[in-house]
C-alpha cells in the first residue's frame, strides 16, 4: 500500500523467507473462495505462474529471470523459489517479493477451460476477453459499454467470513464511468453524479470553500492527498549542452517549483520545502531511507536564479555574442520542453520550466505533441532521442510498492533500459553511470538497514549531483476526491482504520476495506 508495506489479504499471515533468502513460503487463507464457491488454493497460485511461463506472457517474461518456480506444497501452502545467481544467492529477492503483491491469482479450473478454448495459442489466450473468468473479489461484472462499467456485489463473497469483516461491503453496485475529459468528470463530481473522483480536479478546495459542496479529500488541507509518485522532467543527454551536468543542474535549480505546485498542481502536492527533493516519495517510510543531512547541501527548492547563473558561468557556459542567450561550444543553448498534449498539469509545469530558462539565458520553448507520437518517441530506447523537440520531457516514475524506493531509483538511473526497442520502464534520458548501476544491483540482496541507508544516500547524492532528471512535483498515485451527497465515511486521514486504508481505487486488494465503512448520508 502507499506506506510501502505489504499487507496479507488472500494470504494467511505474512510471507516468510528462508534463511538463505532463496525461498518464500506463505499460506492461502482458508476462507478465501472463488465466486463459484470453490476455495482458492495453492495449486491456483502455482498454476497461474506455470501458465505465465508456458505462454510467455509479459508477466512471465518479466519475472523468469528472478523466479525459478512456484509450487503448491499442499492445498494452502505456496513456495516460491527464487532464481539463483552464480553465487548461490537469489538474483533479486526484492522482485520476487514484488511478484506477490503485483499479480492476480487465476483459478486453475478456469485457466484450463480457457486453454482449451484457445487451443494453446498464446496470442488468443492473451486476447481472450475472459467474460466467464472466476474471481475471488467482492464484485463481479454486471454491465459494460464504452461509457461505463458496472460491477455487482457477489453476495457469497468470502469477506463475510468471521475471520474477515463478517459482512459484505456496503454498495451493491459499483459503476465506473468513463468521461470524455477531465472537465466532464469534474462537472459530474460537482453534480453528485460521481461519488469518488480519481482524476485531477484543479483547485479542489473551491468545491467546499467557494461552492459549499459536500466534497472532501483524503487530507482536509493541501496537499489534499498522499503523494506517491514523482512526475519527472528528463533531460535528453544527447542534446548539445545537456550532456553537461552544470547546464542540467542550472536549469533544475532555476525552476520555480512553488509556482508549479501552486499553479500547475493547484497546491495538490507537498512543496520541496516541506519534503526536500531526493529519490523518495514524500511518505514517512521512504523518507527514512536516506540520510537527510548528508545531502542537504545538494538539495534545492528552486527559484535559485543567481545560483544557476553562477553555476553556468563557472562551467564556462556564458553569453559570448551578447544576444542574451548563453552558448556552449559556440552554439546557442536552445531547448524544447515537451509533454503530451492535453495533460494539463504537466503542460502547466512545463510552461514554468520554460519560463525559468529565460531567466538564466537558456532559451526553452514548449511543445505538446499528441500522446501517440510522444510515447513512440520516448519509449524507443534503442535509438537516441531526437535532438530537436525532446530536450526536456516529462514522464512518470514508479509510485508506491514493496520494492520501492529501489524500483523507482532503478528506473530513474539504471542504464539497463538503454537499447530496448520499447522501454516502458524508465531512464528515458538514457543516463549511464556505473556507480549508480552497481548500487542498484547491490540493494536487493542487502538486508542490513544501516547499509541500505548508506547506499540509498549515495544514490540520492549521485542523483542530485548529476541531475539526469529532476522531479517537478509530488503527485498522488491516484487522486481521491469524494462527493458525500449519498455515501459518507469514505476513507480519510485519521479515520481510525487499521491498517489505514489509503485512497487507492477502493476495490483492489485491501482497498476493498474502504467500502465497508460507507454509510448512507440519510439512511
Amino acid at each position: 500500500m502507499l506506506d510501502g508495506q505489504m499487507y496479507p489479504f488472500l494470504a494467511d499471515g505474512d510471507f516468510e523467507w528462508n534463511a538463505d533468502r532463496t525461498e518464500i513460503t506463505f499460506k492461502i487463507k482458508s476462507a478465501a473462495k472463488w465466486n463459484d464457491g470453490t476455495p482458492v488454493t495453492a495449486e491456483d497460485v502455482a498454476y497461474t505462474w506455470a501458465t505465465h511461463v508456458k505462454y510467455n506472457t509479459p508477466t512471465g517474461s518479466a519475472n523468469t529471470p528472478y523466479i525459478e518456480n512456484i509450487e503448491a506444497v499442499d492445498a494452502q501452502t505456496v513456495v516460491i523459489k527464487a532464481k539463483l545467481g552464480e553465487d548461490g544467492k537469489a538474483v533479486n529477492p526484492l522482485l520476487v517479493e514484488a511478484y506477490l503483491s503485483t499479480n492476480y491469482v487465476i483459478q486453475k479450473a478456469w485457466t484450463e477451460v480457457l486453454e482449451e478454448r484457445v487451443a494453446g495459442d498464446p496470442t488468443a489466450l492473451l486476447a481472450d476477453p475472459a467474460e466467464d473468468v472466476a474471481y475471488s473479489g467482492a464484485y463481479g461484472k454486471y454491465f459494460a459499454d464504452d461509457t461505463k462499467v458496472v460491477y455487482i456485489r457477489n453476495e457469497e463473497y468470502w469477506g463475510q467470513d468471521a475471520s474477515m469483516w463478517g459482512k459484505l461491503p456496503a454498495p451493491k453496485y459499483l459503476a465506473h464511468v468513463i468521461f470524455k475529459d477531465n472537465a466532464a468528470g469534474t462537472t459530474a463530481l460537482q453534480a453528485g453524479e460521481v461519488d469518488v473522483s480519481q482524476q485531477f480536479n484543479s483547485n479542489v478546495q473551491d468545491f467546499w470553500l467557494e461552492q459549499g459542496l459536500p466534497i472532501s479529500t483524503y487530507l482536509p488541507e493541501a496537499p489534499y492527498g498522499i503523494g506517491a509518485s514523482l512526475p519527472t522532467a528528463f533531460f535528453n543527454l544527447n542534446s548539445p549542452g545537456l550532456d553537461q551536468a552544470a547546464v542540467r543542474k542550472a536549469i533544475a535549480i532555476a525552476v520555480d517549483y512553488p509556482t508549479i505546485i501552486a499553479n500547475a498542481m493547484t497546491n495538490q502536492s507537498a512543496t520541496f520545502d516541506q519534503v526536500p527533493r531526493s529519490l523518495m516519495n514524500p511518505t514517512d517510510g521512504e523518507q527514512a531511507l536516506y540520510d537527510h543531512d548528508a545531502v542537504a547541501d545538494l538539495q534545492w527548492a528552486g527559484n535559485d536564479i543567481e545560483g544557476a547563473k553562477a553555476l553556468l558561468d563557472e562551467a564556462g557556459v556564458v553569453d559570448s555574442d551578447g544576444d542574451g542567450w548563453r552558448e556552449y561550444n559556440g552554439e546557442k543553448l536552445s531547448y524544447v520542453a515537451t509533454c503530451p498534449n492535453g495533460w494539463s498539469d504537466w503542460q502547466a509545469a512545463i510552461e514554468v520550466v520554460a519560463a525559468a530558462g529565460k531567466e538564466i539565458g537558456i532559451e526553452i520553448t514548449t511543445n505538446y505533441p499528441e500522446w501517440s507520437v510522444y510515447q513512440t518517441v520516448v519509449t524507443k530506447s534503442d535509438a537516441p532521442l531526437p535532438e530537436e523537440g525532446y530536450d526536456i520531457f516529462m514522464m512518470w516514475s514508479d509510485g508506491a510498492g514493496p520494492t520501492q524506493p529501489w524500483g523507482r531509483i532503478r528506473k530513474l538511473l539504471s542504464s539497463e533500459f538503454i537499447g530496448m526497442p520499447s522501454n516502458w520502464n524508465g531512464n528515458w534520458g538514457q543516463y549511464s553511470n556505473p556507480d549508480a548501476d552497481a548500487l542498484i544491483n547491490a540493494i536487493p540482496a542487502e538486508t542490513d538497514e544501516a547499509k541500505l541507508k548508506e547506499m540509498y544516500t549515495e544514490l540520492v547524492n549521485i542523483y542530485l549531483t548529476e541531475v539526469p532528471s529532476f522531479t517537478l512535483m509530488y503527485r498522488p498515485q491516484s487522486f481521491h476526491t469524494v462527493n458525500e451527497s449519498v455515501w459518507t465515511n469514505f476513507p480519510h486521514a485519521d479515520d481510525g482504520t487499521n491498517p489505514p486504508v489509503p485512497p487507492l481505487d477502493l476495490t483492489d486488494g485491501w482497498s476493498i476495506a474502504g467500502l465497508y465503512n460507507l454509510t448512507l448520508v440519510n439512511p
Binding site: N182, S202, W208, P214, T259, T266, A348, V352, A355, V521
Partner: protein, 416 residues
C-alpha cells in the same frame, strides 16, 4: 472618394462598429505603454486570483496606522467571519451535542460562541455527518478564534542574534492604513489566470496578437482570393476552369477541417502565431475568390470595359483601372470579414489545442484553451474566460457592424 468616406461615416452601424474597433485598437496600442510587464510573466503563485486590488500585508503592517473610530467595524468583522449560515450550522451542531434548542440564540453572538467553544469537539463523530461537513466545522472553529477579542494583534520578529521572538509592534483593531501609502499594491482588474498571470495585461497582448493573426490571415486570404478571382473571372476559359476546379475542391472540404488537418500536420514546433495566420489565410480564400470571380464576370461584360478595350488598353490596365475599383469596396468588405473570421479561426484552433505554441505569445484562443483546461468555467472563475469571450465577440461584432455599414453604403439594394 471623399464623398464615399463621408457616406460611410453617415452609416450608424459603421460608426458604432468603427468606434468599438478603434477603442480596442487604442487600448491595444496604448496599454502596453503604461503597463510594461511582460504579458506572460507569472505574477501569482496559485491559480485564478479573483479581480481586485491586492495590498501587500507585510507593507501594511509597517505603514502608518490611522485610528478610525468606525462604529460598525466590529460588527462587520463578525459578520465577515460568522455568516448567518454559520450561525445556523453552529446551532445544528449544538443541538446534535445535546443542548436544548430553546437555549440556543443564534442572534446573541457572545452567548453562541461561548456555547460553541464549550461544546465543540473535532473528534466527535455525529452519525450521518459527512466528512466534508466535519472539515467545515473544524475550519469554522479555527476561524472563530479571537473573533470577539477586543485586543489587537501582536507583531513579533525573530531576533537573528538570540533567535528569539521579540515583540515589534501591535496592530490595534481600529488601525487603518491608507492604501496609497502602502509600498506594494497591485490592481488586478481581471485577476489572474491558471498560470498566475495578470489577465488584463495578457488579454491586451493576446488581443494584439490575435488581431495581427487576423490581419495577416485576412490579407493573405483576400490577396489569394482576389488574384484568383480576377484571373478566373477576367481571363475565363481554361484558366477559369482550372481555378474553379481548385476552388470547388476547397469548397467541398470544410475549411475548418482542412485547417485542423494542416495545423495538426505541421506539428507544434513550427506553429508560431505567424504560421497559424498563414495557414488560416491559405485555407479561407475560397469564398473571396468565388465572389470576386462572379463580380468580375458581370463587370467584364460591362460596356466601359469594352470601351476600354476599344481604346487600346492592355489587360493589366483594364484589370487595374476598370475592374479593380469597381470591386474595391467589395474586397474591403471581404477583407474585414476575413479578418474577423481569421480571429475566430485562431480561437477555434487554439481551443482545440492546435493553435500557436504557448510560451511565445498569448492569443485569445490560447487564453480560452487554458481557462478551459483548468476548468475555470466549471469552477466559476469567470474572469479567466468571460473577458476573452467578450473581446472576441466585440472584435467580430464591430467588424461585422462595419461590414454591414459598408454594405449599406456600397450596395444600392440596401439603401433606404
Amino acid at each position: 472618394m471623399k464623398h464615399t468616406i463621408q457616406q460611410v461615416f453617415r452609416s450608424g452601424k459603421f460608426v458604432l462598429g468603427f468606434s468599438i474597433f478603434s477603442a480596442i485598437l487604442l487600448i491595444v496600442i496604448f496599454y502596453p505603454m503604461f503597463v510594461k510587464d511582460s504579458p506572460l510573466a507569472i505574477l501569482g503563485q496559485g491559480t485564478f486570483f479573483p479581480p481586485g486590488i491586492y495590498v501587500n500585508v507585510y507593507d501594511s503592517m509597517s505603514s502608518t496606522a490611522y485610528t478610525l473610530n468606525l462604529p460598525d467595524a466590529a460588527a462587520k468583522r463578525v459578520a465577515n467571519k460568522l455568516s448567518e449560515e454559520d450561525r445556523l450550522s453552529i446551532k445544528e451542531w449544538l443541538v446534535a451535542a445535546g443542548i436544548p434548542e430553546s437555549e440556543i440564540d443564534t442572534t446573541d453572538t457572545a452567548k453562541l460562541l461561548g456555547q460553541w467553544s464549550a461544546n465543540f469537539d473535532p473528534k466527535k463523530s455525529i452519525p450521518g455527518m459527512t466528512n466534508a461537513r466535519r472539515n467545515y466545522f473544524i475550519r469554522l472553529n479555527t476561524s472563530l478564534k479571537g473573533l470577539l477579542s477586543t485586543e489587537g494583534a501582536t507583531i513579533s520578529q525573530t531576533n537573528p542574534e538570540t533567535n528569539e521572538l521579540e515583540q515589534v509592534d501591535t496592530v490595534n483593531q481600529k488601525d487603518y492604513v491608507n492604501v496609497g501609502e502602502v509600498a506594494n499594491t497591485r490592481i488586478l482588474l481581471l485577476g489572474t489566470d491558471n498560470f498566475g498571470r495578470d489577465i488584463l495585461t495578457e488579454l491586451v497582448a493576446a488581443t494584439r496578437v490575435s488581431l495581427q493573426i487576423g490581419f495577416v490571415a485576412g490579407l493573405i486570404a483576400t490577396l489569394i482570393g482576389l488574384t484568383l478571382g480576377l484571373l478566373a473571372g477576367y481571363i475565363g476559359g481554361l484558366i477559369d476552369d482550372i481555378i474553379m476546379f481548385v476552388t470547388n475542391l476547397f469548397t467541398v472540404i470544410p475549411t475548418f477541417v482542412l485547417l485542423i488537418l494542416i495545423s495538426f500536420s505541421i506539428g507544434q514546433e513550427q506553429r508560431g502565431a505567424f504560421t497559424i495566420a498563414v495557414v488560416i489565410g491559405l485555407t479561407s480564400w475560397v469564398w473571396t475568390a468565388r465572389a470576386v470571380r462572379s463580380q468580375v464576370i458581370s463587370l467584364r461584360n460591362r460596356d466601359h470595359v469594352n470601351l476600354s478595350k476599344l481604346s487600346g488598353h492592355s489587360i493589366v490596365h483594364i484589370i487595374l483601372n476598370d475592374i479593380l475599383p469597381y470591386i474595391a469596396s467589395y474586397v474591403i468588405m471581404a477583407l474585414i470579414l476575413q479578418i474577423s473570421s481569421g480571429i475566430l479561426a485562431e480561437a477555434g484552433l487554439s481551443i482545440l489545442g492546435l493553435g500557436p505554441r504557448t510560451t511565445e505569445v498569448p492569443t485569445l484562443g490560447l487564453m480560452m484553451n487554458w481557462a478551459m483546461i483548468y476548468q475555470a468555467h466549471i469552477l466559476g472563475n469567470w474572469w479567466a474566460y468571460l473577458p476573452v469571450l467578450v473581446t472576441i465577440a466585440l472584435i467580430t461584432f464591430s467588424m461585422n457592424l462595419m461590414n454591414t455599414g459598408l454594405d449599406q453604403v456600397f450596395n444600392p439594394a440596401l439603401r433606404d
